[in-house]
């Protein structure tokens, strides 16, 4: 626990030293969502109709973007092997990475989402539900992404490959995440969807670090 704490705090101090990394994914999120009214239609009911999907696809992509920077630097400068060789378990490394990744990328998305929701004509209730859905869904995405990232660490075209590996695995979260927001915006009950998102978080939180740490040890060769 102490190790995970110091790992997370180191991650955060590295990230906060250069604010750009902190801002990029959120900026990406905001800009991508702004493209939709321009490309589809600024008509309010249509916007509200596509809003849940747009918010989820955009946050999924911006998380994907952030993953690479988060793991690759540690691999390149040798920190990752130093951590493994200092007796830190792969499990703790992955867990602390995911926690830091979520604080830096996932949490800002959760906070910015209502603003985007307003731009896309979602009502207040649906906006709050969108925050809740992102709060439960984005950590799962970070966990699943950790597996893909650990598998592609040492590879030349790792970034593109990561997308190929991880996007299909994101699909259940995408479906239920977007469906939660959609149900809320149409005034239907959404508790079931939220429960599924929570279950997915528990499952991915439990299993993904094992898979990711196994993958990390393979990649480090």
């Amino acid at each position: 626990m102490k190790k995970i704490g110091s790992l997370v705090s180191r991650e955060l101090s590295v990230v906060f030293r250069s604010q750009s990394e902190f801002i990029y994914p959120v900026a990406f999120f905001v800009m991508v969502t702004t493209m939709f009214p321009l490309a589809v239609s600024p008509e309010p009911t249509q916007l509200a109709f596509i809003a849940p999907g747009v918010i989820w696809v955009a946050s999924l992509l911006s998380l994907l973007l952030s993953l690479h920077a988060f793991y690759q630097a540690d691999f390149d400068d040798g920190s990752l092997e130093q951590l493994l060789l200092s007796g830190v378990s792969g499990y703790s490394i992955v867990l602390s990475k995911v926690v830091a990744n979520w604080i830096v990328t996932g949490l800002p998305l959760v906070l910015v989402a209502p603003v985007i929701g307003i731009l896309l004509n979602l009502d207040t209730h649906a906006n709050l539900v969108a925050m809740l859905a992102l709060l439960l869904g984005t950590p799962s995405l970070c966990f699943i992404g950790a597996i893909g990232m650990s598998l592609t660490l040492g590879l030349r075209n790792g970034g593109v490959l990561l997308t190929l590996l991880v996007l299909p695995l994101f699909i259940p979260i995408l479906i239920f995440g977007a469906a939660t927001v959609e149900a809320a915006s149409m005034g239907r009950p959404y508790i079931g969807q939220v429960a599924v998102l929570a279950a997915a978080l528990i499952l991915s939180g439990f299993f993904a670090p094992f898979a990711a740490s196994a993958a990390m040890k393979i990649s480090i060769d």
């Binding site: 102490k2 190790k3 110091s6 180191r10 101090s13 590295v14 030293r17 250069s18 390149d76 400068d77 040798g78 920190s79 092997e81 130093q82 951590l83 493994l84 060789l85 200092s86 007796g87 830190v88 378990s89 393979i218 480090i220 060769d221």
Partner: protein
């Protein structure tokens, strides 16, 4: 967690049996057999591409395609990973320093992973390596030699019995090399074990054996 004081009281051994690494089914070097106990040191020699770095990484358990056994105190390191890693300090070509953190922050971080915080020891170690004045400098702004010194300061801040150093002399000036040799001698006198690779001959380490890789 074990805390190692000045002397490594218990006797340690590392035993390497028939260790090879292959790339695409072709072994890089002939099987290596090696046994080192407290106070022993060895220099791995070989031409470029002979597999010196690969051998050291395999000993650390970082190679997927290795064959053979590595035992720390008669227990396989692959089955008792954490036991081995708590006693190991490996410094490779990548130094594992975060460029966006200061020298001191980097050292404190690694120290905290295995030992209790000791900020004065970290300062002291930086003094010894001759970069005491740069403790709050970002590693990104340092020269290659300074970075190497920061990484090497870990041998003082993390007193573990087994050191595996891959080309530690690279980028060090004469003073740095002399300091390193002296530190290694102290380490061996106190019952430490040292595995080292180097292009240039190392003259200053007492009782240094040699292993030629073919």
């Amino acid at each position: 967690m074990a805390v190692y004081n000045a002397d490594h009281k218990s006797k340690n051994t590392i035993k390497i049996s028939d260790l090879t690494v292959s790339r695409g089914d072709i072994p890089i070097f002939d099987p290596v057999n090696l046994q080192l106990s407290s106070g022993d040191s060895i220099q791995i020699r070989g031409v470029n591409g002979a597999g010196k770095t690969t051998l050291l990484r395999a000993i650390c358990g970082l190679c997927n395609s290795h064959e053979g056994i590595v035992e720390w105190n008669e227990r396989s390191i692959f089955d008792h990973e954490s036991d081995f890693y708590e006693n190991l300090l490996y410094l490779g070509h990548s130094l594992g320093l975060k460029p966006k953190l200061t020298a001191e922050q980097n050292l404190n971080f690694y120290r905290n992973l295995r030992f209790s915080t000791d900020k004065s020891l970290v300062r002291q170690a930086l003094e010894q390596t001759g970069i005491g004045g740069y403790y709050d400098e970002f590693v990104a702004r340092m020269s290659a030699g300074q970075k190497r010194r920061v990484a090497l300061a870990r041998v003082i801040t993390e007193p573990v019995p087994l050191w595996i150093l891959d080309e530690p002399m690279v980028a060090l000036d004469i003073h740095g090399q002399a300091w390193l040799e002296q530190v290694c001698n102290n380490h061996l006198e106190r019952g430490g074990i040292l595995l080292v690779t180097s292009h240039q001959p190392i003259s200053g380490i007492n009782g240094l054996r040699e292993l030629q890789l073919t």
